[in-house]
């Protein structure tokens, strides 16, 4: 290898230069794109390969079950470097999110050994872990034989490490005593406001700073902006309706989903007076300024409406607003971001987080090889490449957030994004109580919300009924 090429490539590997910059530099030296890729892969491989036998599972293969997502795209685009590094083969099935988790459940419930590793959220491992479907990864992380010295597990944000670990005892704190690492954080999202700057200017409003303002601003936007409604939030009959904006605002008022008694018994906590007041406001906001067929709204509709200019703002995942500011979206480049604390007396936002994670199937025939894939995919090198060039945000590693190239990319194209993140990151965590009935109870919560919005039941009565039903299910399951 010639010296100048080598210097360039090493600068890239050490993170001082973006892939695009490197390719440009190499092109100037007369290196073709194909050769350049080869050089980069080789250099990355060499950097990673120091002091660790990456080739131990050379020739074996892993199969992945993946959700259709930009993270997946970024990983697949970079797969060649994993293959070059390890000499392993990778196969995968990708499903859209609506059917994805049913597929995971079906594969794991049947103890299928087809998949070695899969994407999951932290909530799902509250089912998968106790059911014995995924492995405690601490075993691998702590084994220097199996984990490269450069993996730097401590570099992963501490809140996320804790949120993906649980003892399996209903009601126990995440990451607390006896917690097992059911999955590895991969990318995550916290919930704040993403808004259309042009529409905000047109209506003469600024990003709202508490719940009252949010309801007012949404209503004003709904009136003043032609062809767009005020605020997009999810509403389908699914747990996914509860966990983004809704729970983030709810938690900001100090409200909880469940109470845990000293002897570990669970009971419903959503029918307090504060909770009822909050629900009433939320329901009012959707009725006044939400999308017309709100009750069918999932991540996809909330996002595409913002991207198409059909909604003025969303209270949902920050990265949803991030994705909609690029690609071929009509409003690409027009979006802004703001942190949001619903409670006027709260000091900071309390966004509930969703963590896309990687887990290892307990039925994998070759767990050590699967772990090679997991540590590469959740490693710093891939995270850095994805954050600089692909849509692999929000990164879960501190080193990536400190990376100058990543920060400058965000500052230039996504105004307010890094600020939104930094203001709310300290309060960002999972605000649900971990327990195995998570999906039953949150789905029912969403159904109750739908009934309230449709006016089938009053807010107070609806919440009392919900609490009764939650308590009854907890007791049937022997949890409360």
């Amino acid at each position: 290898m010639y010296e100048r090429e080598k210097d360039l490539v090493e600068a890239f590997v050490r993170g001082r230069m973006s892939r695009r910059g490197l390719l440009r530099g190499l092109a100037a030296l007369g290196v073709t794109a194909a050769t350049a890729d080869l050089l980069i892969n080789r250099a990355t491989t060499q950097a990673l390969a120091q002091d660790f036998d990456w080739k131990r599972h050379s020739g074996s293969g892993v199969k992945l079950l993946l959700n259709k997502h930009p993270y997946t795209d970024a990983m697949i685009a970079n797969l060649d470097s994993f293959k070059a590094l390890t000499g392993m083969e990778v196969a995968y099935d990708v499903f859209p999110e609506d059917v994805y988790f049913d597929k995971v459940t079906a594969a794991l419930a049947s103890r299928s050994s087809e998949y070695d590793a899969f994407m999951t959220g932290a909530y799902m491992t509250w089912t998968y872990g106790p059911a014995g479907w995924c492995s405690d990864l601490a075993e691998w992380i702590q084994d220097p034989e199996k984990t490269a010295p450069g993996y730097a597990w401590d570099d992963v944000l501490p809140g996320l490490r804790a949120s993906t670990a649980w003892s399996g005892r209903p009601g126990d704190t995440l990451g607390g005593e006896g917690a097992k690492q059911w999955c590895i954080p991969w990318g995550f999202e916290l919930n704040n406001l993403s808004y259309n700057r042009a529409m905000f200017d047109q209506a003469g409003v600024t990003p709202p700073e508490n719940m009252d303002q949010l309801v007012e601003t949404a209503a004003k936007l709904n009136r003043d902006v032609e062809g767009a409604y005020g605020i997009g939030v999810r509403g389908s009959r699914s747990w996914a309706t509860i966990h983004p904006g809704f729970l983030s605002a709810y938690a900001n008022f100090g409200q909880k989903d469940l109470n845990v008694s000293s002897d570990g018994q669970l009971s419903a906590a959503m029918n307090t007076a504060e909770s009822k007041a909050f629900h009433a406001q939320w329901v009012q906001m959707i009725r006044d300024s939400g999308p017309r067929n709100w009750s069918t709204y999932t991540w996809y509709q909330v996002g595409s409406d913002l991207g198409a200019g059909a909604s003025a703002m969303i209270f949902d995942a920050d990265i949803l607003g991030f994705f909609m500011n690029g690609g071929d979206n009509a409003q690409a480049g027009n979006l802004g971001y703001a942190p949001f604390a619903a409670n006027p007396s709260a000091e900071a936002p309390t966004p509930n987080v969703w963590i896309w994670s990687l887990a290892m199937s307990a039925f994998s025939r070759n767990p050590d090889a699967a772990w090679y894939f997991l540590q590469w995919a959740s490693g710093a090198e891939h995270a850095l490449m994805g954050a600089r060039e692909k849509d692999f945000v929000n990164p879960v590693r501190q080193s990536v957030w400190s990376d100058a190239a990543f920060r400058s990319r965000m500052e230039t194209s996504y105004p307010g994004y890094v600020n939104q993140y930094e203001v709310s990151a300290p309060g960002a965590q999972i605000y649900f109580t971990p327990q195995p009935l998570f999906f039953d109870l949150t789905t029912e919560w969403a159904a109750a919300l739908q009934e309230m919005v449709a006016g089938q039941v009053g807010v107070d009565e609806g919440l009392d009924r919900l609490a009764d039903s939650v308590n009854r299910q907890l007791s049937e399951a022997g949890l409360g």
Partner: protein
């Protein structure tokens, strides 16, 4: 000679044994395949008698029918039953009326009528899940053609399947679109096979047509109507495809019919015991109806055979 006669009778006896075993041999493979089905059925019974959640393997234990008791005292079960029954009654009722009406319209064997009856086969041949998707596209509030039509007659903001007030109506409409042709075909075949004499006699006597319809056509057609109704009843109470593809049981619990509820119980709550109990209750209902149907249908067959 004697030897050959003996051999002959031996061969005949052997062939008689063969003949006796033959029907069993012929139906055995089909039977085996179906017995394979009995295994999951019995495991379902077993699961339904347990507290069995995949997410709490340690809590799995026999609870001997407690799951059923929990279901029967749970308001959401009664909601499921009520939704399933309303769906069934509405779809079957609507389709019978429409199917009979269309069959009467097309009764005469003209070229146009035959052509129309072929056209009407098309919805029936469309997969119900895909039919639901088609209607989902047509009822989209932003660009759906039906939403546009409805707005033309002055109803703005009609929300179809996404509002609890109209969700049931919308899925009933899709079901009607798919299955009315089935009833139509059966009744048309029935109408066309009715003997002519009573009608000719009535025409000669100048009996009013409403009287002919109520006193001759309808009674003679009753076995056909009953068969068609029972058949649709069986399918309708088990509806899954259309509702799942359209709303997954929402909004709220508006469309939580048996099979959708059982599916969600299994996959989202991983509550195997409850899911199995729900399905067994549904099975008990369908078993009763299917007994009625099969007996009725056999009688109908026999009757048409006697007439032939």
């Amino acid at each position: 000679m004697a030897a050959t006669a003996e051999m002959d009778s031996l061969a005949r006896r052997r062939s008689r044994i063969g003949t006796r075993a033959l029907p069993y041999l012929l139906s055995l493979p089909a039977l085996l395949v179906c017995i394979g089905v009995l295994i999951p059925f019995f495991t379902a019974v077993y699961y339904s008698l347990q507290r069995y959640r995949l997410s709490q393997p340690w809590a799995r234990e026999m609870n001997w029918g407690e799951t059923y008791w929990q279901l029967l005292t749970d308001p959401s079960f009664w909601n499921t039953l009520q939704v399933s029954l309303s769906y069934t009654v509405l779809t079957v009722g609507l389709q019978l009326v429409l199917g009979l009406g269309i069959a009467l319209l097309l009764q005469k064997r003209t070229r146009l009528n035959n052509f129309v009856s072929i056209l009407l086969l098309l919805p029936l041949m469309t997969a119900p899940a895909l039919a639901a998707l088609m209607w989902k596209l047509m009822t989209d509030p932003n660009f759906g053609i039906l939403s546009y039509f409805v707005s033309l007659i002055g109803i703005e903001d009609f929300r179809w399947a996404s509002s609890p007030d109209t969700a049931l109506l919308t899925v009933v409409l899709v079901d009607t679109w798919v299955y009315t042709p089935f009833i139509m075909i059966l009744l048309l075949a029935g109408l066309r096979s009715l003997p002519r004499q009573p009608f000719e006699a009535a025409a000669l006597d100048g009996v009013p047509r409403s009287f002919v319809f109520l006193r001759i056509t309808l009674p003679m057609l009753t076995p056909y109507i009953l068969t068609a109704a029972l058949f649709r009843l069986l399918e309708s109470i088990q509806q899954f495809d259309i509702i799942y593809a359209m709303t997954q049981g929402g909004p709220g619990d508006t469309l939580m019919v048996f099979q959708v509820e059982a599916y969600l119980n299994f996959f989202q709550s991983t509550n195997v015991g409850r899911s199995a109990a729900l399905l067994l209750i549904l099975w008990a209902i369908t078993f009763a109806i299917s007994n009625l149907f099969i007996k009725n249908w056999l009688r109908l067959r026999e009757r048409t055979h006697e007439e032939v």
